[in-house]
Symmetry: D3
Subunit: 298 residues, 6 copies
Amino acid sequence: MDKDMQDVLKKAEVLVEALPYIQKFNRKIIVVKYGGSAMSNEELQKNVITDVTLLKLVGFKPIIVHGGGKAISSWVSKVGKEAQFINGLRVTDAETMEIAEMVLGRVNKQLVTMVQELGVKAIGISGKDSGLLHVKKKLSDGKDIGYVGEVDRVDPKILFDLLDNDYLPIIAPIGLDDNFDTYNINADDAACAVAKAVGANKLAFLTDIDGVYKDINDPSSFISRLTCSEADALIASGNIGGGMLPKLNNCTDAIRKGVNNVHILDGRIPHCILLEIFTKKGVGTMFMADDDALAQNN
Amino acid sequence: MDKDMQDVLKKAEVLVEALPYIQKFNRKIIVVKYGGSAMSNEELQKNVITDVTLLKLVGFKPIIVHGGGKAISSWVSKVGKEAQFINGLRVTDAETMEIAEMVLGRVNKQLVTMVQELGVKAIGISGKDSGLLHVKKKLSDGKDIGYVGEVDRVDPKILFDLLDNDYLPIIAPIGLDDNFDTYNINADDAACAVAKAVGANKLAFLTDIDGVYKDINDPSSFISRLTCSEADALIASGNIGGGMLPKLNNCTDAIRKGVNNVHILDGRIPHCILLEIFTKKGVGTMFMADDDALAQNN
Amino acid sequence: MDKDMQDVLKKAEVLVEALPYIQKFNRKIIVVKYGGSAMSNEELQKNVITDVTLLKLVGFKPIIVHGGGKAISSWVSKVGKEAQFINGLRVTDAETMEIAEMVLGRVNKQLVTMVQELGVKAIGISGKDSGLLHVKKKLSDGKDIGYVGEVDRVDPKILFDLLDNDYLPIIAPIGLDDNFDTYNINADDAACAVAKAVGANKLAFLTDIDGVYKDINDPSSFISRLTCSEADALIASGNIGGGMLPKLNNCTDAIRKGVNNVHILDGRIPHCILLEIFTKKGVGTMFMADDDALAQNN
Amino acid sequence: MDKDMQDVLKKAEVLVEALPYIQKFNRKIIVVKYGGSAMSNEELQKNVITDVTLLKLVGFKPIIVHGGGKAISSWVSKVGKEAQFINGLRVTDAETMEIAEMVLGRVNKQLVTMVQELGVKAIGISGKDSGLLHVKKKLSDGKDIGYVGEVDRVDPKILFDLLDNDYLPIIAPIGLDDNFDTYNINADDAACAVAKAVGANKLAFLTDIDGVYKDINDPSSFISRLTCSEADALIASGNIGGGMLPKLNNCTDAIRKGVNNVHILDGRIPHCILLEIFTKKGVGTMFMADDDALAQNN
Amino acid sequence: MDKDMQDVLKKAEVLVEALPYIQKFNRKIIVVKYGGSAMSNEELQKNVITDVTLLKLVGFKPIIVHGGGKAISSWVSKVGKEAQFINGLRVTDAETMEIAEMVLGRVNKQLVTMVQELGVKAIGISGKDSGLLHVKKKLSDGKDIGYVGEVDRVDPKILFDLLDNDYLPIIAPIGLDDNFDTYNINADDAACAVAKAVGANKLAFLTDIDGVYKDINDPSSFISRLTCSEADALIASGNIGGGMLPKLNNCTDAIRKGVNNVHILDGRIPHCILLEIFTKKGVGTMFMADDDALAQNN
Amino acid sequence: MDKDMQDVLKKAEVLVEALPYIQKFNRKIIVVKYGGSAMSNEELQKNVITDVTLLKLVGFKPIIVHGGGKAISSWVSKVGKEAQFINGLRVTDAETMEIAEMVLGRVNKQLVTMVQELGVKAIGISGKDSGLLHVKKKLSDGKDIGYVGEVDRVDPKILFDLLDNDYLPIIAPIGLDDNFDTYNINADDAACAVAKAVGANKLAFLTDIDGVYKDINDPSSFISRLTCSEADALIASGNIGGGMLPKLNNCTDAIRKGVNNVHILDGRIPHCILLEIFTKKGVGTMFMADDDALAQNN
């Protein structure tokens, strides 16, 4: 093979090597669950929204699912009611549901505004729009705690339509049941249901913790990557605290239903999403299928 | 011409005669402004939503712009504030604006739910989504009355995208100014701005009055059809009451900016929209361009 | 109210009454599982394909999922192998899988041809195309029986794209696992998974039985409509035969995951699909949610 | 079978029988070549445009290809040149080409205006737009007669895009060659090329003759339907006049390249298009493939 | 924070800093008004068209609105008429209108050809197509000067459809009034109306002047950036010449109706558009809202 | 001109110079015919599919048309038949056609799987789907050799729809005739027909030869670029072997019907497609129109 040919062959190889990297950005859907402490101050909000907007500009198709629990509690008390929780679930009578829907609606439009400010087209919807999130009543230990729903079906068509038309969808976690009654949904669960229904490539939970530790009391036991089996073992070990448990279950469930990677990130670290995605080690805990882990080790 | 030929010719003529009627339904955009008393009870709401949904099913492309003034006032007082008005405009401080956005957001989703119940896909947005409604501060006699905006630009792309994908858009009258601050917009004005921007075929105001009277004290002076010039004359006559005046101006302005027909309807009459559109005489007052009136008389 | 007004009001009411009927046809997705005896002769095939094509022309969005078990067995024996089944599942070694994919591919294109002959645009795909059906290996009582897969995730985007562009999708029940190996899928299961993922309004199984009987030995015990609870009770009663059991479970599962109605039809009855949908009593067994049954009785 | 069942079966049959008729209208593309005498007065123009518009409203997807020869000649003489023809082809120097493009451009927009008046969205383009018609120079008996082109390739994407977005495309027969020079194209040829490229269901030539006669001197020898073979025989018979010959060749060529039916119609008969399509016998001559004729006779 | 973390943080910051720049290209609409001296020779034309085409290739969505006054005058005299102007407006009788439409139609297709040569898909339309530009008669000091129209409404749907399908639309400034009569429109006015209706990010006037001077006699008084208020003051100062006045009014009007930036450029400077957009100082005069100027100074 | 201005001018020029290169990737359609020896081992297959996938990721719109002759022969003999050829065409009785369709269907899905593995969305279809390839029976020296078809019409709409929705279409060379009977098509011919119908920018034949030689016995006579006229002369020279002849005719025919470039490549060279497109000299033989060659030499 002559010199000239070797050169062009090398050129071709460079292109071929670039393939996996280009694919990483190529129209993959990433669902970002945004809530809790990461929403608590404006500086953090700007960081998060800037990150998500940037993901969109480099080729990802992001979807935001947001919470708003603190704002709801604050408004509930404003009208003279007391927020009440059973097993971590808000007892939601009709009046509380009305307040929750109003507050989440406003948070939704605040996030829309922030994205629009960055020059990207956003549409804020709730799970009611076009029947996106269908729920059934969720009981707490068999007890009726009001309008608390769990997603039993997602109609993802509206999300594909919005993504195809180049919008960034922002979703408030509210749904309808068979009787067209309104229900509040845990935002983690809603994000998980959405990610599965659209076949998301990634699902990222912005939380107020670093990620997962093997031993919560040993800072050196931080886990950067975790397979489903390893997560199962961790859960079985009994070392996982109560608040972390449902999150872990959501993560493994999402992986098993086809989401490629699930990430637990500390929303208080500036640009945590970019750091996790564009750097090798990342800053949080990434969950993956057992097979994928195997493939990466070989 | 032989008998056979006459028959087929007749057949062709029937088709040709059907043309104007078919056109009436063929993907024409109709903007319905829905608010005030017509929203006050559930029965009326169901009638209105059923009518609009039916328009969609027979081929129209409806858009709803809704109000929510009474619910806003009720929530304002719920948190211990007093609703305040100057020249009919709500004085809107930051806290009132926050409440208004929450309440309108919930009304928006209630309407979405009602349309979904009828088996039609609806998406509820506000003027913030994808920059639909851009406003500047509206003064009242030169006085700053807070976050009250008037639309100074509409970006209709989001509406075309939603209509093209077969959704029924429902719009809350809220917008952003150059600084991305949130403003309340008069729902009549918002509907008018939207109708002009999308080149609507029809704009219908659902109100709690019958329509326009030549002499408000003479029931026999009801006006079924009105040209822009006639409306101008009526305004100049000084016989039009204060509440009616801005509505009349909105109507003639919409006609002059290209909306084909504007209708003032009494939302309390069951199925008033269908009656107005599918019957010759109609039930409300229809505004049209001077030219169109001329054409119909010839 | 004068006479003229009464007339127009009546006219409006007729339109309003037509609403539920129009909705029935309006872009609803119906998944038809087509296989077994109903595929055995050309006359029956023509009936079925004509029915499905007609559904499309009147406004439905049909999707066909087909089987092909008999043709596979016939080709397996043609190359000198013996078809082997364990618990009703075909033992599928690599060679059998190769034959199954070839045979199903051809059946797929035969159905495409029949739809094209009727002037409707069809596209035949398998669950491999655009990652539609993702599977994991299915064990039989814990035993590996080869390339037999169960769907663990559906990426419905391709179906929405094809339906939006007005094609009738026809799906062969084959999928890929994490290692991109090819697996055979039970056609009933594939249809069920597809129906749930696209939020289908209806799922119809074309079989070689009439439907469900309370007592299989008593012809007068035929059941036209069945709620999920009633189906559960029937299963618990132990009166349901082995072949029927997985079908019943598929039906109730689909209903619970959001499909509105599931139908078991006898594909040997000419035009059974049209008869079931356009007549009150229908000809097969229709499953519905407990709530829906309640609503219809009130 | 009981009475009830018979009834529903009958109902199903009615639907099945309606199938071929519904298909007739269902998004089929029809290319209408409009020129010559049929364009000569305003009354005829209105009839033709009304017919085409109606076809669109009942479900067809029409495309108009127009001529403008007389208007070109009139403008050529207006600037003091003499229109010159060799073998029926206009000798087209640079100045004549400039005039031709101007005149055809204006005729194009006149037709657009007429369609718009009827409430249907039209877009007028020429073969230059998005590279629709690519030509090479056409010689007349080996002699260069200037900017006269014959289509050697069609890029139909623009037409599919316009039809998909619900526009009625109107095409002026002008194209570009490899050097991006402008050429005039015979409108019959342009219509034929377009019809083949989009896989049109029908191609209709609006002319100033009734159709085809077996013996041009015998009015009773009018031919309503003609297969390709019969047309070949007719051409071979030598009984076809010079002006008719290229038209016949265009017709048989179009059929052989996949257009289902080609029609020669007398544009001077009011509503000739509707009469031809919606009546059994029709009013002009219809060409079809030999196979199709066979199928209809059996 | 360890070294590794600092690195990745830096990496993230680079991406974040790139955000505003990426946004600049991201599907923003730019309307270019092209006419006058900048159209006078082929070299300049090529420069302009190359610039616009390049804008499209790097992500902008350009729309061209063109004039053609000189060519119209030349053809008017060619047929023995004398071009007549009152207050700078062409007196346009029916015959002049016919010529104007023909000439503009040809200019339109010449521009289409030039864009196509550069490998980009262009579609040339006039304001008649799909009802894009609706006009009413424009009087000159109350005097009827024939078919001279001013835009009173724009239906932008056709432009969104063409842009969504990746075409570069080129618009001839002609419109229809209520009677579907044809009118000539000033190209500056047409460009301005289009830019406002589509919510353009930029509107660029290619002229034969450098831009705006504070004192037309003082070359050192050239103004690179101008707010609306400053432009108002300049107009009020009386130092602006007659030809410049309507242009300035168009600029400030466009800004106030929502166009982000308006540029006056000297079309005779090679690549003036690229220079203005991709360089800090630019080469012409840029208009902006008062708020934006404020924001940039802070 | 001052220094600053010179700098920006230079900047503009760089962008302008980049134009032709950017255009090269910008949504151009490339049809790749893939078959014969290049399909024979897995390593080569991976190279080819990786190349095509990369073309898609950098902006091309590739379409694959594949063969499968060897696999068909192997299955024919597996069922005890003998593959029979006349003049290089497979004698195709009904049973052979059945096998061919099954085998090609499986090859089709294997290629789909390989593209999916690389993270790009693929859809595998045959010429039956949506009526893509319509054929008539092909005779061999006037002799009927069974179900061997030649394409007489292509309906490219399905390909535009798939490309618009961002899929990579993979086509099996099978078509339907007027009677909806199934025919086998030579894959080279099918690729050629498809390339012409979609107005492809490039058509590449992956073969097991280097390309074209002036004298097949003289390795130094390899031809890198060839115009249509030169190819004609070569054919007339009689120096072209029998297997090469139909390929050459396909190449010149495609060029003359509007494909810009046709390439004959040796599929056994790793990354031959990338080498041919992204390097100046290329590795195979490229055909071009006479005009284009002229343009490049000037």
